[in-house]
């Protein structure tokens, strides 16, 4: 398990002129908002860095931020082929929880949860981390047993989790269909009160702004086309903006990990799958928590804007197309209406797909590779967003010290050789 006192690094921004507050807002209002500064510089690559992070999503930016703020590595860059947060960071349903079954999972997700708490202040950016609770519901005897197993483990790992009876669920979520005669009646559930959601774009922007403040170069619209090595050592990366020398490269490119691995001539046990999500039109609040159901296969929350945000499982085939097949939303919405009849007369406003990389054991990879100085952070499947701060924090530690800390050890690539997997399949069901 994670040590309870985490080194969060520098808190707030060094450049006070850029500091956000109600006062800066008022001051700027007086100036008709002409004086706001760039959230981050649009840097051009230097010839050489101490480390380069490939991938400007939440995990990559968090990694860079903690490298700078915890490990004082500020001569580093984040390379993003498109725009910051344009991958799964900006395409997920923003659910945050740490109530995992296996110790290894609990360790890293709870590590992340502790960082989420107070992250807005760390970054001086309101990421709207809203601890509205995550309620996972059970629909059968079998699921009730699984639930009991999970809650016991979660509690003993020091993570909050409460079992709710159908009556308590009825009170907690008035719009849920509690009719005992439906196909998959709601027989109970367990709630992590500290769970909830955050504003996904803000997480990327907040990390980018804070990292930039410490001197990290954030380079957008720059695609990596090759990795330079000398024997088994990384010496640099080739990009559309030219060669960048570096001895440490951290790859955090969910969805495209295999593509980068190919460039390095190594392999990953990963399949890229479409994950679909959708939102309804905004309405006044009707749901003030997050609901997950494995049996009927969907999860739902309501955003601060008022949109109902829904997701389900991945499509069944490999894809890099950021789009899935219609039957998935069809089944997702049938399940949603079955559990929440009020949704029937709402309307789907937006629908989209992301590419998630899935591992055989539904657990991530945070690992060194056979190539010295090349590190991978991938395989988060459908559950990556919730881990963002923890993933970045642990990965930064791995890159800075070139050895995994106790949280990272179980997530090394060699587990697929030994077979000592962290199998969240049985446990996870609909993860995200």
């Amino acid at each position: 398990m994670a040590s309870t006192d985490i080194d969060r690094g520098v808190r707030g921004l060094r450049d006070r002129k850029k500091h956000y507050s109600i006062f800066s807002l008022a001051r700027q209002a007086g100036d008709y908002h002409q004086g706001w500064q760039q959230a981050w510089r649009h840097a051009e690559p230097k010839p050489e860095y101490d480390a380069v992070i490939i991938g400007g999503g939440g995990h990559g930016l968090a990694t860079a931020y903690y490298l700078a703020s915890v490990h004082n590595m500020t001569n580093i860059a984040v390379i993003e082929k498109g725009w910051l947060g344009g991958g799964n960071t900006g395409r997920n349903t923003t659910i945050i929880r740490s109530n995992y079954l296996w110790d290894e999972s609990a360790a890293i997700y709870e590590h992340a949860m502790k960082l989420w708490e107070g992250l807005a202040q760390d970054l001086n950016f309101n990421i709207m981390f809203s601890q509205r609770g995550v309620l996972t519901i059970a629909h059968s005897e079998h699921e009730l047993k699984e639930m009991s197993r999970r809650v016991h483990a979660i509690r003993l790992n020091g993570i909050d989790s409460d079992i709710l009876s159908p009556d308590e669920i009825k009170k907690f979520v008035p719009i849920m269909n509690m009719d005992p005669a439906i196909r998959y009646p709601v027989m109970g559930g367990f709630l992590q009160k500290r769970g909830g959601t955050a504003r996904h774009d803000a997480v990327a922007w907040g990390y980018a702004r804070a990292a930039d403040d410490m001197g990290v170069d954030i380079i957008q619209n720059c695609e990596v086309v090759g990795l330079r090595r000398q024997g088994r050592k990384i010496t640099g990366i080739e990009t559309t903006k030219g060669l960048i020398k570096t001895r440490k490269v951290g790859c955090v490119v969910a969805g495209h990990s295999s593509v980068l691995a190919d460039m390095a001539g190594i392999r990953l046990p990963i399949a890229s799958r479409p994950l679909q999500a959708l939102v309804s039109e905004p309405i006044k609040p009707i749901l003030d928590t997050v609901i997950m159901s494995n049996a009927v296969h969907m999860y739902i929350s309501q955003s601060d804007k008022g949109e109902m945000v829904l997701g389900a499982g991945v499509d069944k085939y490999n894809s890099y197309a950021q789009r899935g097949s219609f039957p998935v939303p069809e089944h997702m919405l049938a399940a949603a209406v079955e559990l929440f009849p009020v949704l029937s007369r709402l309307r789907m406003l937006r629908h989209w797909g992301g590419i998630v990389d899935t591992c055989p054991d539904a657990s991530p990879i945070l690992s060194r590779t056979d190539i010295e100085g090349l590190y991978f952070n991938c395989g988060w499947g459908t559950g990556g967003f919730k881990a963002t701060p923890g993933s970045g924090h642990v990965f930064a530690d791995l890159i800075a010290n070139d050895r995994p800390n106790e949280i990272a050890v179980p997530y090394a690539l060699n587990r697929f050789e030994t077979g000592l997997l962290i199998d969240e399949h049985g446990a996870a069901g609909v993860a995200h």
């Binding site: 495209h256 990953l268 490999n318 697929f416």
Partner: protein
């Protein structure tokens, strides 16, 4: 929703099919001397190309037959559909087959009886 042309039943909706992942994964014969690491290539490591992918599908709600598909994972265009035990014939399909790292993995070599190195039926997944 994909439309997949079952070699027997013709074009049907994706919903009728199940996807079996990477095709042509040779199963190491029992009498093998693979290290755990080499065996993991067979057990866990899968090709995951951004582009032409050779994969196995089964017409689950139809004739229940398995077959191979060459599909572009970026465009979702289906380039070729060919039977179990056969190899792709399209140019792109052949290229994808030969480019696969697995072709010269220890696990794949261990799937070849010393006697019949080029035997096809010994492992229909190939």
């Amino acid at each position: 929703m994909l439309e997949i042309k079952c070699p027997y039943c013709g074009p049907r909706d994706e919903e009728e099919f199940s996807c079996g992942g990477e095709a042509h994964i040779a199963r190491p014969l029992s009498e093998n001397s693979l290290s755990d690491k080499e065996f993991a290539d067979y057990l866990f490591y899968r090709d995951n190309p951004r582009g032409v992918f050779l994969e196995r599908w089964r017409h689950a709600a139809g004739c229940r037959r398995w077959f191979n598909v060459a599909r572009d994972t970026l465009t979702h265009h289906i380039l070729e559909i060919y039977p179990m035990g056969a190899k792709p014939v399209s140019k792109a399909g052949r290229a994808a087959y030969n480019a696969n790292w697995r072709r010269d993995s220890q696990a794949e070599i261990a799937a070849q009886p010393a006697s019949q190195k080029t035997n096809k039926t010994s492992s229909a997944k190939r």
